[in-house]
Symmetry: C2
Subunit: 334 residues, 2 copies
DNA sequence: CGGCTCTGCGTTAACGCTAACATCACCGAA
DNA sequence: TTCGGTGATGTTAGCGTTAACGCAGAGCCG
């Protein structure tokens, strides 16, 4: 920086002002400084900057289960938005064991000079963790229920309503639900949306079956439903379970969508290639990440803290696995 | 830090020495300093440290296509190992468009004070990018071919050989291959391994079919193979294409593994739940990340630079989709 | 024309930490 | 006894940047 200042014949302070886009520098000086900076290949030293300003332009992201499609896409969205906003993204993954480890991970991030944190909080219990964070650290929760800190989430409830109503519109008498594990906010919200949609339409609400997000659990519940022989429409709480359901139906000879319609949730990239292509609810994880980041930057830069809970609308994607209810109920085939 | 020093009644320098585990501090003083630090909740300021030492204990990771299982798992492995080694991990994702963006992303990371970079280099062309990096920046390439910088990769070639030999051992006359897109190092290595294994066994090498990693492309090539009616063993270059192949076979009435055996590559979590459960080659992505990180830390901390190319062995996982060749070749069914 | 504001710069002093050297007490060897 | 060595600690300076203030000159108003 001293070199730049010397080359232009001004003080370091003036260079600093140009660097930060501050006013009180004549257009001409500004141009000459910029020229000198690029000529010398000058790069500001982030450490020195952080030291004096107390801000590092680095954000922490705590993510659970980074290998799943949803969290990974969200992370990607966050990173891109952060880069555009001029922030760096430092990551820390939680091992699934939970609880005690959270503190450790957050400690790790706090050891760094971090301007704010985005925490993926898919479990109901994570809300408790959020309470124990230092009050002066800007935080955004992603993918959880509205809690003590600003948050961004896909509207799971609405998505489930859309899925259920789609099936009802096709003429199905009712819709069966393979739910996600209790304790997950998204599983709860989807189940509630399904239940409410059925009740609003005056339909019978069959008992919800409970899976664990895995294709295997979807397969098991699918077998159960197929055996009962009275399901004509199934809404699975995620695409992997829907995949299991599809397989179970196929094995028991039920046609999809001829005999049974199936709808998933998430729209993972492979969903188009399931057999048949899966009707599902698309979550825009990238947008989720962006919104979350925007919320965090807003807190950090002290703008209005108006909207404490941002919601992303999911979207129904109709493919081949859902169709009109057949005229007569399907016979039990196995 | 001044507070800690005052509380103990020593100079800041002594506190600093304790902090860095330096000698020349009496055991008693050391203990008192540590006590004071925890009493005051003191946390060293990373920015000040980085400013004076020129090292930030932050690593950059450049990853392509972060939403795929492989890269995401690798990233997770890197992060965990880095945390244990006392480093922070700053990420930057490439958008798939490639080329020009690489420089931009690396620039972003260089703007931060970074001690080293791990670059995921799955394409053959990424090797060129590596040449243009500043020579003084420690770099490790992951998941590419041996190139100008130290690298860590899963031994794709050996994996493909294992898959092919597994099928030959089961008595199949030859093995068909649905390859990945050319331009990907891993696709090339897997194809080469398959080819060599067949040749070594003195078998006919059928032309390789080319997919694009997606389930859709696997489905198409699977239809083609099923139509030809003479394939009894298929090795798909990844699990998603294998999924497509399975579906195609199922639709055309070919039994798996009764009529046709199928083997994939990767061992994605859902592979167990494919129909039938997929025999595949497991890549330990977590280990890959760890090894890559170790290589980088070695460079940074100036230890021996002995092994410039580290290889992780993949592992055959036998499930239900592969079985003995049927006595008589299957009839063409469609 | 005095006093006011505004612009465009410069000067000084940190930010929190560590490298390098300085100091001092003590100990064993010559 | 003197001297060099060593272990424990302190002092000084500076890493690269920005906040806060200072100051001169231009322009404007009453």
């Amino acid at each position: 920086m001293a070199d730049v200042a010397r080359l232009v014949g001004v003080s370091e302070m003036t260079v600093s002002r140009v660097l930060n886009g501050r006013p009180r520098v004549s257009a001409e000086t500004r141009a000459r400084v910029i020229a000198a900076m690029s000529e010398l290949g000058y790069r500001p030293n982030t450490a020195a900057r952080a030291l004096v300003t107390g801000r590092s332009r680095t954000l922490g992201v705590v993510s659970f289960n980074a290998t799943l499609y949803g969290p990974a896409s969200t992370l990607s969205g966050i990173e891109q938005a952060a880069r555009e906003a001029g922030y760096f993204v430092s990551i820390a993954f939680m091992q699934p064991h939970g609880r005690g480890r959270v503190a450790e991970v957050i400690d790790h991030l706090k050891a760094q000079a971090i301007d704010g944190v985005i925490i993926s909080a898919p479990h109901a219990w994570t809300v408790k963790v959020l309470r124990h964070l230092p009050a002066d650290l800007p935080v955004v929760a992603i993918d959880g229920e509205p809690g003590p800190v600003p948050s961004a989430a896909v509207d799971q409830y609405v998505g489930a309503v859309k899925a259920t109503e789609h099936l009802l519109t096709l003429g199905h008498e009712t819709v069966h639900h393979v739910a996600g594990p209790s304790g997950w906010s998204s599983a709860r919200a989807r189940e509630q949306g399904w239940r409410d949609a059925l009740e609003r339409a005056g339909k019978v609400v069959p008992p919800a079956l409970r899976g664990d997000w895995s294709a295997g659990s979807g397969y098991e519940e699918g077998r159960r439903l197929a055996a009962s022989g009275n399901a004509s429409a199934i809404f699975a709480a995620n695409d992997h379970m829907a995949l299991g359901v599809l397989r179970a139906l196929q094995e028991t000879g039920a046609g999809v969508p001829g005999d049974v319609s199936v709808v998933g949730f998430d729209d993972v990239p492979e969903a188009t290639f399931f057999g048949p292509a899966l009707t599902t609810i698309r979550q825009d994880f990238g947008a989720l990440g962006q919104r979350g980041l925007a919320l965090l930057v807003e807190q950090i830069e002290g703008a209005s803290r108006s909207s404490r809970h941002v919601v992303v609308e999911p979207e129904l994607v109709v493919r081949d696995s859902s169709g009109p209810a057949s005229a007569s109920p399907r016979k039990k085939t196995s």
